[in-house]
Point group: C2
Chain length 205, copies 2
């Protein structure tokens, strides 16, 4: 591997060994059950070294995922301004990342998750723990409904990304992010805060 | 290739040559612009032979896609019973196919479309011409809105399939089809017949 530049050069072999161990342990146990201690043990290094290289478990996870952005830094924007239009703001935020230069790496990650069970597991953990749980944590919801709301949000977001960036189905592939957010936002909003049965259906036009 | 069994054995090389030509021409021109004549020319055979082997252009397309089911046979079920709950019935129909033995082939097709630009193009044509256009044709809608409605429906359906069958995100991966249809149906319904802006949003809970 090429030696990385940045503020923590260290030993690139050690760094890669930790990342490999992290992918394995996160994939096997999930984000919550994977401890820095277990990852350090799998890499054959001291836990203090893991913290030295990567800081928090969150940051280690983002590095293990090759995540092009840190949702923890971006999400407060979408969540600021109250729960009423959070669905639309979330769609705008996600498309903002995917339409940016970081979108190339994000697309590579999604393609990999769609074809590789291991990456799929990590992606599932990433989306659940780094994105959706943070969003749902800000809303006043029945805890028992969180898993299904989370999966429903993921279904619409994943589909939007697949259709806009992989299948490139017009006009969703060419519409401005704001227009897409106006059309898809209410779906995310209902999955987050609305009733989850057919009574929430659209009026027919 | 192994010789196929069935009512049209014919020459397996000719049959495969026609299918290869069909994938190429459908992929290049799209379903509507691809003629049986052009496909026959690309395969170096007489158009009558294409009709002999595959019947209609629709059937040739389904064979070229290796489609595990014929949407033209299944969709009337979902469309019977009026437009009010067509969203929910469509979700139930799609999950019925994917939860059945045919789902294995359908999943292989989706995975291939997600990783291969050529299959993605064919899949886009398949979804648009064989499924969504037929559904939208039954509803009394503004023609100018059909492309965006079609792409929005595809986004939610594709995402549901990705999350339930590829990423296997619980509880969407384990819920009964009827429960999923109750939660996702209203989204499809709004994309088909509802208003397409935020005014259609959910009530917050």
């Amino acid at each position: 591997m090429a030696r990385r530049t940045g503020r923590r050069p260290g030993n690139p072999d050690t760094r890669e060994a930790i990342l490999t161990a992290a992918r394995q342990v996160f994939g096997e146990r999930g984000f919550d059950q994977a401890s820095v201690r277990a990852i350090a043990a799998a890499a054959g290094v001291d836990p203090a070294l893991v913290h030295h290289y990567f800081g928090t478990k969150d940051n280690l996870f983002l590095a293990a995922m090759d995540a092009p952005v840190d949702p923890g830094e971006l999400l407060p924007q979408a969540l600021a301004g109250g729960p009423e239009e959070v669905g639309e703001r979330l769609v705008r935020l996600v498309l903002g990342v995917w339409d940016s230069p970081a979108g190339v790496a994000a697309l590579a990650l999604l393609r990999s998750a769609l074809t590789n069970d291991w990456t799929a597991r990590l992606m599932r953990e990433f989306v659940t723990t780094q994105i959706i749980r943070r969003v749902l944590g800000q809303l006043d919801l029945d805890q028992a409904e969180l898993p299904v709301r989370s999966a429903l949000v993921a279904s619409q977001m994943a589909g939007l990304l697949v259709v806009r960036y992989i299948l490139r189905l017009a006009p969703l592939s060419t519409m401005a992010a704001d227009e897409v957010a106006a059309a898809v936002g209410p779906t995310i909003q209902r999955y987050l805060t609305g009733p989850l049965t057919a009574a929430a259906g659209a009026t027919s036009g």
